[in-house]
Subunit: 411 residues, 2 copies
Amino acid sequence: MKTADPELMRAINRFHVMDAIRRFGPISRVEISQLTELSPTTVSAITAALLDDKLIMTMQVGALRDSTRGRPRVMLRLNPDAARVVGVKLAPDLITVAVTNFCADVLRSVALPIRIDRQTPAVIADLVEDGVRRCVSDAGLEMKDISGLCIGLPGVVERAAGVCRQSPIFGDRDVAFGPQLTERLGVPVTIDCDVNLCALAEHWFGQGRGLNDFLVVSVERSLGLGILHNGELFRGASGLSPDLGDFMVRPSGNEGGRLGDLASETSVLADLETPARSRESDGAHGHGRAIAQVVQRADAGDKRCIAALAAAGEALGFAIANLITLFAPPKVIVSGGEMAHSEHFLGPLRRALAAQLPPSLADVSEIVAREWSDGIWVRGAAAMTLRDLYGAPWNTTGPARPSTAIAEGEP
Amino acid sequence: MKTADPELMRAINRFHVMDAIRRFGPISRVEISQLTELSPTTVSAITAALLDDKLIMTMQVGALRDSTRGRPRVMLRLNPDAARVVGVKLAPDLITVAVTNFCADVLRSVALPIRIDRQTPAVIADLVEDGVRRCVSDAGLEMKDISGLCIGLPGVVERAAGVCRQSPIFGDRDVAFGPQLTERLGVPVTIDCDVNLCALAEHWFGQGRGLNDFLVVSVERSLGLGILHNGELFRGASGLSPDLGDFMVRPSGNEGGRLGDLASETSVLADLETPARSRESDGAHGHGRAIAQVVQRADAGDKRCIAALAAAGEALGFAIANLITLFAPPKVIVSGGEMAHSEHFLGPLRRALAAQLPPSLADVSEIVAREWSDGIWVRGAAAMTLRDLYGAPWNTTGPARPSTAIAEGEP
DNA sequence: ACACATTTATTTGTATAGCGAATAAAAAAC
DNA sequence: GTTTTTTATTCGCTATACAAATAAATGTGT
């Protein structure tokens, strides 16, 4: 915890005000005052400063004069043009880029269906750079208009250092992808675990609005876990994001208990030894098609497909039970592609969950399947950057807090 | 996050100063200033207030004048007599009570070897009340001298509400033990999961000094998990403490995969179907003796005992691997009785851990076995209370933060 | 012995924060 | 047009942190 001074005080309260404006849309000063429990005076002062900085703008009172008398409220909202940021999501066979404004509205996005896993980091950086430049240019902007950029990718990411410790995308370990792109693009680039972005997006725009605690489990080719705790993204020690794929669901002796080898899309396909269209050669969308096929065949009654999906669901349900035991979140969001929505997957997941959970926790968590949407990732990536621009004084989500001298141990 | 005002500012900085004094013993104002990065002016002001409140005291410069010239430093230390608090630890067959001073030094302690599990909460409250009153009186104090009391017990505890959701101690669910004792003793009583107290104690006095992240796994009759994250105790949503016993290590279909049924002392005994001295009738120390016997026989080469301990160690190692995957803590402290120190238990634990951990996390965590000491629990309980008296402005450890209006969702 | 250097602690003065009370602004109600 | 009501701002107050100047307390050197 940083030492407190007037500056921090202002930063905290300013963030509260910004957050209230962001969340509750056009909002008047009185309402902000009520929501934040700051005095009207303070709200007035802070909003004046924000208006001065052009971070927010006034909205002339529109329809909502409910024939109340008194001086009408002046509604405040974020100034969409205060900044533009870029969000990037890397998947093994798809690069998604989006440019958003200060409200996290997507101005322009491009999806590049390119198979990038096992390319060298330099090549991937090239592709990302190209994609970003193109998307920015398509949006009618130049790079100098961009205030920041965040890249989400699966795996274990150390956000503070901008280093990807390990990822299905990169063959190498410890790729300093953030600094690399920062240099290439001349814009501050952060990287983060993709599912963290998803969690932030859910918190800002999706199923997690108004919730201070929830889990996001992403089921794609690999598995991810994002934890929102006490209104903040939770990161492990030294800011590492956990990799749900490395979670073990049974002792490894008996033919591998890695969850990633049991419950991911990849593992389901491997389990079925999907014939024909070998996944290496089939380019970008082969994987997605293969999964869709599996789900279809399961719907049609194919026993093997049903069993494969059920096995995956059960394994994930087992893992989620343990996560609920640890975190007791009121909500668990299962986010993913077609597989994640199939009842052949979700049903066994729920059943396994119910079987494993201790009775005391049986009802604390609601499991919801989140409709897949490409947009949410990049919006989350944008939000991650915006959060910093909004002036968040909590370092929880930003780079790991520089541990104060007092925290260093014996003097 | 609370809104910031000058009061909070002062509270934060005062806590930093208190914490520096607590941790770095007799310490001068200049050193505090360096450690906390507060200005000398501020440190002077805060320490003056603390001295005024008699929370700290000056120490006449002792031996450590290293022939440096200049005005000698005035050393500051906690005033041991600033307050007394009581820590209580409940185990199924043992109640431990300790009275400590403001430095968390134990003034007096009593251990009551009473089998309390399955007694009614009222009876247990009676016993605790008696024990506390006796211990306080033995210390030459009266209840009015006591500033606070914290009770640690195994199970799932909701500290904020003072409610024990579930515990091997109580047959009932949702026992409001905190308020009950508060009324009986006329002193603020908090309750907490015992292993959280242990974690705090390790952080203040033990293996966790200077570490901002570590796990404590307690192996007793039941299993506990305490998480220190970013220098603060981690609690699940709504302040619930997790119960490691409910962690599953294999799908429950095949004869129960609850970790508590596989790796606790109780389960080892059950596994061996310890003959003779039936555990029900043998009063308080039967359990401990039985465990000691198992360890002894394992040391002597008894195959069944070795296997039982190994199975328990493996199960726990499996669970710890998953915890490391999630939290990546630099240290994991395994705390417990004789069983937890036996190499017949720890060896398999380490091996299972090594087998399950992903390579990228193979070396991040050091596993240490913590010598059992009754004292540490009650000292932790005392520390938990002292933390509040020191004025910790973070509600993470205290009662759950009253979620500000802004966090409540849509307006 | 006594001036001087040196380190530590306090005092003084300044800037900034938040907040309550009074005030101004703006619109409906009378 | 005046009053009422609600919203926003201004003014005056207090609390905080901090930098600079000052005081305190000790060792060093002549």
